[in-house]
Amino acid sequence: MSTQPLSGTLLDEQVRLSLEELSQFCSAGNEWVVALVNEGILDPLGNSPGDWVFVGSCVSRAHAAQRLEHDLGINLAGVALVLELLDEVDTLRSRIRRHNLDR
């Protein structure tokens, strides 16, 4: 193909998003993202919603929260618990991987 390759945005820790931007990335209202923060699912920098700053990885976490809420019919407290347990499973899995490497 001769077309110019598309360059997207890599959603890493260098990417900074405001509350409005993150809400827009989730096609959700600001109040839904505020609820995620209040539930401890997202942890932005800054003191008040007006100056909150989210890093790029918050986008995939918010999307996962959205899918869990929608597909499994759980409330945000449940979503928070699921995501925390999944984080723990991930940590344990990578520890097992490292342990197998060390043998």
Partner: protein
């Protein structure tokens, strides 16, 4: 197109109550939810499950599915009877949560997805976001690359019908990507209707397993076999890294499993990961008489008891 037994997908009997169906759906949805499940085919199963539930939870759709379901077995080549469902009318569930790629069977039976946005004058709908995974080589993460990816996505045409459209995108993979990270391509999701903005495309990075290296987030690991004399006396060995060969100094008295760190030579994210080399001491085989003599000489001359700490 293949016939799907939605009752088998849901793991319920044909006479299951609506409550049974809901319970079974909830249970299987938790099991195969792609965010939760580590089963390799979770995504496909979750999709089929969603489709089965969309039919069986709706008494109208269930009744019409039952009408033809009795004559078909899963996997059989399916053609929709021409007079089927003539008397049924399907009402949407009104959720309007975008377009899903339902199977051909579903589309043939129930047409466009219920709740999908209709095109009306003066009515705008935002296009939905799409999510896909993209596999790259570890070397691509070090250097950056351009990948052509094929996507199959449902689209709604101007008359409100869902069609599946294949498209190929050339996407730049930036240097420093790590497994699980996402690239957002604004406006590359489904197009909106009535002038509404298009959705976005999210690509999740997967890094293909490598013959030599294992990846742990931004760090890269290599297991390096060493001879006992290299490990004891120390040496310099040429080792591969995804960024090219480097000379690695093995300090004297390197024990088995010792980890040597090459700072900043992991995946070049911001900040860069590290490259770890794990020493793996190997036992030289004694295949010849000379080799065996050598071991015997070691036995006589070396004062070594690996079991000194075990009191028998």
């Amino acid at each position: 197109m293949e016939f799907q037994d939605y009752y088998a997908v849901m793991g319920v009997e044909r006479n299951a109550s609506q409550d049974d169906i809901k319970r079974s759906y909830r249970k299987l949805a938790r099991k195969y939810h792609p965010d939760v499940s580590k089963e390799p085919d979770a995504e496909a199963r979750f999709k089929t499950l969603g489709e089965a539930y969309a039919v069986l939870k709706d008494p109208e759709k269930r009744a019409s599915y039952d009408e033809l379901g009795a004559n078909w077995k899963s996997g059989e080549d399916f053609h929709r009877p021409t007079d089927w469902a003539a008397g049924f009318e399907f009402s949407g569930d009104g959720r309007g949560d975008g377009v899903h790629a339902y199977s051909e069977l579903f589309e043939s039976l129930f047409g466009q997805r219920s709740g999908a946005p209709h095109s009306r004058s003066g009515f705008q709908t935002l296009g939905s976001d799409h999510h896909a995974k993209i596999q790259v080589e570890l070397e691509d993460a070090y250097r950056g690359a351009t990948r052509a990816i094929s996507l199959r996505a449902p689209e709604i045409d101007d008359t409100g019908h869902v069609t599946t459209k294949d498209r190929t995108l050339n996407v730049r993979i930036p240097k420093g990507v790590r497994p699980g990270q996402r690239i957002r391509l604004a406006g590359q999701g489904s197009p909106g209707l009535g002038g509404g903005a298009a959705g976005d495309l999210y690509l999740e990075i997967e890094i293909q397993p490598h013959r030599l290296y294992t990846i742990d987030d931004r760090d890269v690991h290599l297991t390096l076999p060493l001879t006992p004399w290299e490990a004891v006396l120390g040496t310099t060995v040429k080792i591969p890294t995804p960024a090219g060969a480097v000379d690695l100094k093995i300090p004297p008295d390197t024990h088995n499993g010792r980890k040597l760190r090459l700072k900043g030579r992991g995946i070049p994210s911001r900040p860069a990961g590290d490259f770890f080399v794990t020493a793996e001491l190997t036992l030289p085989p004694a295949n010849t008489a000379t080799d065996k003599d050598f071991y015997q000489k070691m036995q006589q001359d070396m004062n070594y008891d690996p079991r000194a700490h075990i009191e028998v």
